[in-house]
Amino acid sequence: MYSNGAAEGYMAGGRPPAIWAEGLRKVYGAHIAVQRVDLVVQPGEILGFLGPNGAGKTTTIKMLTGLIKPTEGRALIGGHDIQRDPVAAKSLLGYVPDTPNLYGKLSGWEFLRFMGRLYRVPTAQAEHRAGELLRLFDLTAAASDLIEGYSHGMQQKTALAGALVHDPKVLFLDEPTVGLDPKSARLIKDLLGQLRDQGTAVFLSTHILEIAERMCDRVVIIDKGTIIAAGTMAELRARGGQGSLEDIFLNLTGGAEYAAPAEVSA
């Protein structure tokens, strides 16, 4: 787990981290969704953000991206406070939620052009980038159709294309492979590698532990709103026992206790 001091150390280093969060907390009435989250993600780093259902993953992502205000704490994107300097911070980030919820009455082309304008990408650059992304995600043939006619996977890929139009420095992905066919899922894995090479920080929330194990430089595990483990795979093994990330995850979150009875009753 990162301490405040470690976070301050990253900030003092000169180059701002891609994501920096300190003491993020979110309370809904009597329910504490996120207890206290400290995070640092460097440019060119892929961070896997894991946790059981209802652990606070999406709430944390929403606080980091400025979609909801934290009850306490603050988050910086590229050194810009997401609450105090939102325009500068948001211009650096891209976000793909678990459920796309795009504008169904826009075509794929119109949506990407609209996103290009929202992120102030020069027209020629946006056109080139949109065409490239449509080709990459195999959406060119459907680009003139309204998004409401797309399948879930196509909408997911359109959302990803929209998040990449402005070439973000920080990319938040919440379950990006849900609903994707194997070819598209593989494409996203390859894309993550390319983004890392280009210096883009990727914050990846996923339940597919194989992706996290293979793709992520570091992994953070959250449970009941609190980060319970963080580090490289080697560091997690040292703490959570030998084995796959799945074993470590189940050991840390208590899932292993449920696995055996489930097998017996099945």
């Binding site: 991206t65 400025g66 979609l67 909801i68 205000k69 939102p86 325009v87 500068a88 911070a89 948001k90 211009s91 980030l93 976000y95 939620p97 459920t99 919820n101 795009l102 504008y103 009455k105 826009l106 075509s107 082309w109 119109e110 052009r113 609209f114 996103m115 290009g116 304008r117 929202l118 992120y119 102030r120 027209t123 946006a126 056109e127 065409g131 060119t140 043939a141 459907a142 680009a143 003139s144 159709d145 309204l146 409401e148 006619g149 797309y150 399948s151 929209g162």
Partner: protein, 586 residues
């Protein structure tokens, strides 16, 4: 069939049997009722009280009107026994109610049969698909019975009491009323099943929304202007309605083999203790109604499954490579616009594409004939003739007819465009996150959303004013002043609607009608009234001031209107902006 469940033996009906069908249907219906009860119970106490009060406020006047119709009809027939229409009225009441149910049944059936969110779950569950169809078909049955309870029951009771009918009338009225919704529901479902074979259900829903709006608009316009169409024949002095002709028309209508009319004749016979007549009438009704409904259920499995499967694969199968290439090459305004203009362009593309949303804009047009005919004295005897009224007081500086036309244009254009402004945030619905996460300032967002409402307003109001100027031959200066007043007050009212829409947005809606929040409508109406009346009063000062005060009136009038319009717009926008960051927090 004997099955083992959790260590105990239970007997279940054979799959496909009538018992299984009824059992599954009952299970699905009770599940839906449970969801309804849960929804109500999880509301706040205040919301529950408001719901009950709202329903009573709607039901009591309609029920009273229905009772009045039944009582009045009975009195009329007792007073004029020569009419010999006694056996017809119960049938007419049932027919009117059945027609009301038929009008709503197509939309209800479409929503429940093809657009419910639980369809996939139910269609793959090991339940009889006919049960799924049947339970979905009966989805709106509570609503239909509520309509019957409010519209038909009071009328039939008061009619029966007035005619002194015996208890058999009331006893047989109950199964008749219970059976009345079945035929409209069956017809609506059949229509939906047939349409779903050719068109995607979501597009049908949009077209249906637009058709309903156009139908409502047409009815309203015809109703508002009826005195002009019928004036030559009805308005003649000394003309009396031809009662005999009316009686013949009613009798020929009552002879139609409609189940509701057949049931009505049976009920009237039951009222007199005529058991044979009652049995014939109600048996005919039951045969047609239940027979048709049973037929629907029997053919449903194949039609419904085919329609549902089609909906699952209703993608965009036919893609034109030429169109794709053209769209790729044509950047258009959207690809070059500033952030506010891009937001407005996005809205202008989306609103007409969702026909249900577009239909919302047509609603306010219902008011236009009222405004034009009544304000401008279009010929009605009781209409407020503004031209004559203001002409009595006003000097000739401003044309009173011009003021009336300006009010009409302002009202019409504002009525349409406040809908866009008030729902500017709500229309984002689940896609609000895209704007919230984008690096745009609140000012850019407000400018974009304002532009999407103000743009159509400016175009519409200017076109209407130019047309009115050419038609009435207003002076250029007068037309310019009128245009200034319309644009000033309209711009302020739209800003207020946008501000209130930002304060009380509704992002969770299924039907665009639900975008409108009550608070937004109320606050916008208040703002419109204040700015429209006081601001309009300021602008009209030059028309009503004595000649020696003319110069002062020409300065104070427009200046006062500008200050009021600016204050109204600024206040509401500041109010809305202060809550902008809270939208979508939950």
């Amino acid at each position: 069939m004997i099955a083992q469940q959790a260590g105990r033996t239970v007997e279940t009906p054979l799959p496909g049997s009538a018992g299984a069908l009824l059992g599954d249907t009952w299970l699905l219906l009770t599940l839906r009722w449970q969801i309804m009860v849960n929804k109500f119970q999880h509301r706040s106490a205040g919301a529950r009280v408001f719901t009950i009060i709202g329903l009573l406020a709607l039901a009591l006047p309609v029920g009273a009107l229905s009772a009045g119709v039944g009582f009045g009809g009975g009195w009329l027939l007792r007073t004029f026994p020569d009419l010999a229409l006694e056996g017809i009225l119960p049938g007419l009441i049932l027919t009117v109610v059945a027609l009301m149910l038929l009008i709503t049944s197509f939309g209800t059936a479409l929503g429940s049969l093809f657009l419910s969110s639980d369809l996939e779950l139910l269609m793959i569950a090991p339940v009889d698909r006919r049960a799924v169809f049947l339970s979905k078909l009966l989805d709106g049955v509570e609503g239909n019975y509520a309509i019957i309870a409010v519209t038909a029951v009071p009328a039939l009771i008061t009619y029966g009491l007035g005619q002194g009918y015996g208890p058999l009338y009331y006893v047989l009225a109950l199964p008749t009323l219970l059976g009345t919704p079945l035929l409209p529901e069956g017809l609506g479902a059949l229509g939906v099943l047939l349409v779903a074979r050719f068109a995607p259900a979501r597009r049908v829903r949009e077209v249906l929304g637009l058709a309903a709006a156009v139908f409502g608009l047409s009815c309203s316009v015809v109703g508002q202007t009826s005195r002009f169409w019928f004036a030559p024949s009805v308005g003649r002095a000394g003309a009396r309605p031809d009662v005999h002709a009316l009686q013949i028309q009613l009798e020929s209508f009552a002879g139609l083999p409609l189940p509701s009319l057949v049931a009505g004749r049976g009920l009237a016979a039951a009222g007199h203790g005529d058991l044979t007549g009652a049995a014939v009438g109600l048996a005919g009704f039951g045969l047609i109604t239940f027979g048709f409904f049973a037929g629907c259920v029997l053919v449903a499995e194949r039609l419904y499954t085919a329609g549902w499967v089609r909906m699952q694969s209703s993608g965009n199968a036919r893609r034109s490579q030429a169109r794709v290439a053209r769209d790729a090459a044509h950047v258009g305004w959207l690809g070059r616009a500033s952030v506010p203009l891009a937001l407005a362009l996005k809205d202008w593309r989306m609103i007409p594409r969702d026909l249900r949303n577009f239909a919302q804009l047509l609603g306010p047009l219902v008011m236009l004939p009222v405004l034009y005919f009544n304000l401008l004295g279009g010929g009605g005897r009781r209409a407020l003739n503004l031209t004559q009224l203001t002409g009595q007081f006003a000097p000739t500086t401003l044309d009173p007819a011009g003021i009336g036309i300006a009010i009409g244009i302002l009202s019409g254009a504002v009525l349409i465009c406040t809908q866009i402004a008030a729902t500017a945030i709500s229309m984002e619905r689940h896609s609000w996150w895209l704007l919230k996460i984008a690096p745009i300032t609140p000012s850019e967002l407000v400018r974009g959303k304002y532009l999407s409402a103000w743009g159509p307003f400016a175009v519409l109001s200017t076109v209407l004013l130019v047309a009115a100027t050419l038609w009435r031959g207003f002076s250029p200066l007068g037309a310019l002043y009128g245009w200034f007043g319309i644009e000033l007050l309209g711009a302020s009212i739209l800003a207020m609607a946008l501000g209130f829409g930002m304060r009380w947005p509704r992002l969770a809606w299924e039907n665009p009608k639900q975008m409108n929040s009550g608070w937004v409508s109320l606050a916008t109406l208040g703002g419109e009234t204040v700015v429209g009346l006081i601001g309009g009063g300021f602008l009209c000062l030059p028309a009503f001031s004595p000649p020696q005060w003319a110069l002062a009136a020409w300065i104070i009038g427009p200046l006062g209107a500008i200050i009021l319009a600016a204050l109204g717009a600024w206040g509401a926008l500041a109010f809305g902006l202060s809550h902008l960051s809270d939208i979508g927090e939950a």
